[in-house]
Amino acid sequence: MSNNYGSKFLSWIKSAAGLSIVVTIVVAVVASIASGPYLLVNTVVTGGMLALVATGLTLMLGVLNIPMFAHGEFFMIGSLAAFYVFTPISNYTNENPDSIIVVFGPLIAMAASTIIGAISGIIAEKLVFGPLRRRSTDDWVMNSFLLTVGLSVLLINLHQLVFGADFKGIVGYWSGMPISIYDVFISRDRVMAFMIAAVIVVLFWFFMTYTRTGMAIRAVSQDITGAQIVGIDIEKIVLLTISLACALSAVAGGSLLFMYPSYPTVGLEPLYMAWFVVILSGLGNVLGAVAGAFIVALLKVITVEYIGAGWDFVIPSALIMFILIFKPSGIFGSDVRGALDK
């Protein structure tokens, strides 16, 4: 029995997915030993948040067949919502430092950005994607792609028009001494940001794997006709998927507000990074997207550390191109052809 698991484990390590995860972990550990553990911390925090944005993107692509280029704007909406909810909370806690809101205030802000993200996703479906779905007979992918680019431009400029182009940031969510683990000091905000991302990713994975609705979402992504003939209401699943995907992106924006202040184009960087992740890990693969997020985060952190801050888009994208030459379906692309490979 153990031998069986052993050989299975070995063959997994030898596969592209296993190999890339092992290499990532080794590189992360070596780099942290060489230059300091903050590299590992940065990778984990960036990776966790990137995982949220990239899973949302994967959902949009896998279930709805929309190449979403407005996903960063939902990140922006999330950060904006968190800013406007957290500012009064932080004014209140400055006057009442003993209040329980000091601990829970930031969570309220993040919950608000999640809810507003989900609602704006539903609005986008009702106003933009739904009407297109009813009218578009062919070329759906191209049409929806153009539509998302337009939506992105619209939302960026709406932000600028209504809220102004200045940086709307906060000093930090949780004040107080940084937490120290083995003499490494990590700010409370970073620890919390990672924990929130981890909890959401795990919950999301359970939801997709074991619940009836999660399975229905996967079923729609794999065969839409098959989903219809087993009795799945496609419209409901579409609405749920969009709100879920947008909420994931918005909660990332909300919980990273201490790192990325809200401004009109704040979403573009996470958007591009998330696209790197999705392309690298194979289109429409949720678990692969989580692993891919950490790989891309590590690439970015190491590039900034050893080569220079201006190169953090160049090196990851060059490496992704290199990998795609050898494995065009992405590192975690499955052997079974999915709906998107058609």
Partner: protein
């Protein structure tokens, strides 16, 4: 009468394929639709299940008018469709595929009973319940598609070209499993290219030619009909 299709017109876009097709099926019957390629057999099936909105005519199931309902609503009424392309969820395991077939059943206990029933029907699926549907052979996939169709405990099972692309031995297996279902009291509407075999096992048949019902009657009589023998059996 379980299913009554009256003067059904259907097609794709501006292209009309079915012209005033009428057919009916009683409870417990095993009925087939046969006809040459492009006659509209699959189109008939798809408009009954609601994957295509009919242009005209009515479909009444179990006394209820289901014309123009969506496929997911019609499935909930108790019709199951096993399509020619099977439309399996390729990245899900056999067991997950079967559970998705019982999507309209919310009771976990009934779901489990249905799963046991399908496994007793196709022991092969029970052996492979953890395997991904996309990695199975053609015959096994066909079994899985029929099994998934049976999971919702349908009153009427629509089966579209189950022998398509299968080796002769597997075709025999598929027909056997449909026989078992029939003996369990399931009403079946079968669309097939394999005319000899189909007319041998079914009770009644409809011949569809150029989008119209050409002939209808007992399968035994159809098999003896000179027109059918000439066109389909080449005798």
């Amino acid at each position: 009468m379980l299913l009554e299709v009256k003067n059904l017109d259907a097609g794709y876009g501006y292209l009309q394929i079915l012209r005033s097709v009428s057919l009916n099926i009683d409870k417990g019957e095993y009925v087939c639709i046969i006809g040459p390629n492009g006659a509209g057999k699959s189109t008939t099936m798809k408009s009954i299940i609601g994957l295509i909105a009919p242009m005209g005519g009515t479909v009444v199931f179990n006394g209820e008018d289901i014309t123009g309902m969506s496929a997911s609503q019609i499935t909930t009424k108790g019709i199951s469709f096993v399509s020619e392309e099977m439309n399996l969820f390729v990245n899900m395991s056999v067991q997950e595929n079967l559970y998705m077939g019982a999507y309209t059943i919310k009771d976990k206990k009934i779901q489990k009973n249905r799963l046991d029933f399908v496994f007793s029907l196709f022991p092969r699926l029970a052996e492979r319940k953890a395997q991904l549907a996309g990695t199975m052979s053609g015959g096994e996939r066909k079994m899985l598609a029929i099994g998934r169709g049976m999971m919702s405990d349908p009153k009427l099972l629509l089966v579209d070209e189950p022998s398509f692309g299968l080796a002769p031995q597997l075709v025999a297996n598929v027909f056997e499993s449909l026989d078992v279902l029939k003996s369990q009291g399931v009403t079946i509407l079968l669309v097939e290219q394999n005319v000899t075999k189909t007319l041998a096992v079914t009770d009644r048949g409809y011949i569809l030619e150029n989008g119209k019902i050409g002939l209808k009657g007992k399968s035994r009589d159809l098999a003896d009909n000179p027109h059918v023998r000439k066109v389909f059996l080449g005798v």
